[in-house]
Subunit: 426 residues, 2 copies
């Protein structure tokens, strides 16, 4: 990790800069796959699955029998763990449900707003080195709570054409049954345009590699909504002299093992902690199966030593990390002043990994500084909020002059007439 | 208007198709302006303002004196009308404010979610044939309620280099003072990248022409958030035999006068109403200052006669209109079944124009079928919802096995270790 000691405020922007990835280099390839799936449907999906995933798939949809059997392939302990995570995530996301807001803004002018589920949603669950079944909980639970009628799940098959039983078991547990063994750009294309087997959806959720990200960007331009713009996963840890260097090292490593492009930032007011953390990193990294990935990620990662807690907060708010761990004495006070972050973990017993899996909060969060303007996935992401209004004749009369004057001043006389005609019809 | 009587369900998609506008044709021009403002700052903004708006502007920012003086240029009646609209919009949007959600998902595992304002936002207010000051209310009021610290407003100047006093008065009334006489792509560029005079923002709101829309799309790809993807404004009216054809015609015209690409759809179960509405349109259109625009918009607009209210609902939900007027006996029941719309107006005394200006609901709404997945602008649009969690040692112990098992099954051993190290440190 690169260490910056008391850097000038003017140099922060440069230090905190994230690597730029230019997806336009992939666009031609991605556009071609999108177009072919749009034109050829299932046949193109099968072709690209053979080409990219080396899997020759017959039925794109996972059968009920496969879903049933998935249960037998998992240990009882893992199934229980997934069940506990599901309960916590359900509890936290249930608190996000809203009753309608109803306001009578003037006598006879009733306005309200209703949460209504997006009818058709698609969940993309990457696979690859490991089956990321936790993503199904994080996307599927709020989708079910919101009341989405059609939930489609796509995930890339192994070379045997199958999905991992942990994926199938988790999906089944939360009631998702429209599951397709399709990944990559072809999955995004199929959910965007629909094929003979795979239904078209209105919004697509889920992480993915650079091709999937590029495909989501392109279909968004065509009108399909997406959850979030994507970037590599990140953590920032802020620690003071009360922190345990071993805990900090373990948090930095849980981010670093995600991928060589993972962003890891450690900010501290306590200079002695730096060497202790570096030592703990060395000790802990050697036992990791994904050590080589973590080593590469740490090479591009940064440690910033600052004078005060207030400076640390400024660095953090400027960086806008996806995950923020506050391992310090006054974590509650510091947390109150965080304005840019995806999810915040307070105190020494709150590692990021509890939020990644099971505490209840969502792990689909804004990366790449997007936390300045975007929120993580929640029930909100699966609903639209539609406004309604109903005026009585009295209400219309009360508001008529206001609307007539404003419409007139904006030169929109038909807008004015729509009020005047009604008023004068009495 | 084109009339379709009892069309086959299979033909609906074709009938409801919106015209496709390909913004990629503008991209080269727009990219050039974006790039030049990024490199040259204020100088480029001035150059493009002279080129596109024919205005030679000195200070980009509107002075306090100009803001003060705007009050003298408006009639008392108009100022009062704007004040009434402001009050109603504030009332409705205040109901959207949220207290934090706090959930203890397991003993010792506390999770909560907080609404935090986006720090820096930019509001774009088009001008052109008329000063659209109502847009300032619709964007500025939720921005202020949310607590955005920096609110920047850009609007194109007239050839005299000035902004219309109604724009300035409205902005001042709701406490917006960072106002710039800059419009078009150069305004979007300035707010995205920042210039010497114009601050950079995290999210840009507001309608605009095709160039502005294209610029918003392009900066979104670079990480600046935007309110909504844009398209021409739309209304769908559903009416039965209880409706007044004059009212319907007035609503269709208030949409049609917006622009020649405005989308107007009239759905009815009552065939006799069609001729009556067409006749009322002919009567009302002739007195409109924007008659020629309305005539063109109506040429591309459609009337669909359906058998039942249920069919009408299906047509409407498939179309997903920005505005939906339900002029029918059982508007409340029908409204309950609307799943895709931006804003819904119930009954014969609820014309769209009351919502456009003053009833309290927001008029920045999803067009182009985006209502299937997007909501209109609200306080939500100006905040992020950040999640927080704090575990006690007991909480960590309670959840540890769950996280360890799941991380292990996903092959992420550093994630597992972050929990184990803490647990075993006791």
């Amino acid at each position: 990790m690169k260490v910056f000691k008391y850097p000038d405020r003017a140099s922060w922007a440069e230090i905190l800069k994230r690597p730029l990835f230019d997806s336009s280099l992939l666009e031609a390839t991605v556009k071609n796959v999108l177009q072919e799936v749009r034109n050829e449907g299932d046949a193109a999906v099968r072709k690209f699955t053979l080409q990219f995933d080396k899997a020759d798939i017959g039925d794109l949809r996972v059968s009920d029998k496969e879903l049933e059997e998935s249960e037998n392939c998992l240990t009882l302990e893992l199934k229980q763990a997934i069940g506990i995570a599901k309960n916590n995530i359900e509890k936290f996301h249930t608190a996000q449900m809203r009753t309608d807001e109803f306001v009578e803004t003037m006598p006879g002018v009733q306005c309200w707003r209703k949460m209504i589920a997006i009818e058709k949603v698609g969940l993309y669950v990457p696979s690859g080195t490991a089956p990321l079944f936790s993503t199904i909980l994080m996307l599927g639970i709020p989708a079910r709570l919101a009341g989405c009628k059609q939930i489609v799940l796509c995930s890339p098959p192994g070379v045997d054409g199958k999905l991992h039983p942990a994926i199938l078991f988790t999906a089944k547990m939360i009631g998702i049954t429209k599951i397709f063994r399709v990944g990559g750009v072809q999955a995004i294309a199929a959910m965007s345009y629909g094929t003979e087997s795979i239904p078209q959806v209105h919004k697509i959720f889920g992480p993915g590699n650079q091709y999937v990200t590029c495909a989501k960007q392109l279909v968004q331009k065509e009108g399909v909504a997406i959850d979030l713009p994507a970037g590599p996963s990140e953590v920032a840890v802020y620690a003071d002299e009360t922190a345990d260097p071993r805990f900090i090292a373990s948090d930095l490593l849980s981010q670093a093992e995600h991928g060589i492009d993972s962003q890891v930032l450690f900010v501290t007011t306590h200079s002695l902690l730096i060497d202790e953390v570096l030592k703990a990193l060395d000790n802990q990294i050697v036992v990791l199966p994904r050590m080589n990935i973590a080593i590469k990620a740490l090479e591009n990662s940064k440690i910033i030593l600052v004078k005060t807690g207030s400076d640390a907060l400024d660095v953090i708010n400027e960086y806008a990390p996806e995950h923020l761990i506050l391992s310090c004495a006054n974590a509650d006070d510091i947390a109150e002043k965080v304005i840019n972050a995806g999810s915040v973990f307070l105190g020494k017993y709150s590692p990021e990994s509890v939020g990644d899996y099971a505490s209840g909060t969502n792990h689909t969060l804004p990366t790449n500084g997007y936390a300045k303007a975007y929120s993580g996935v929640s029930v909100d992401s699966f609903v639209k909020k539609i406004t309604f209004q109903k005026l009585t004749l009295e209400g219309l009369t009360n508001i008529s002059t206001t609307v007539e004057l404003m419409a007139d001043a904006e030169g929109l006389i038909a807008h004015k007439n729509a009020v005047s005609i009604r008023k004068n019809s009495q």
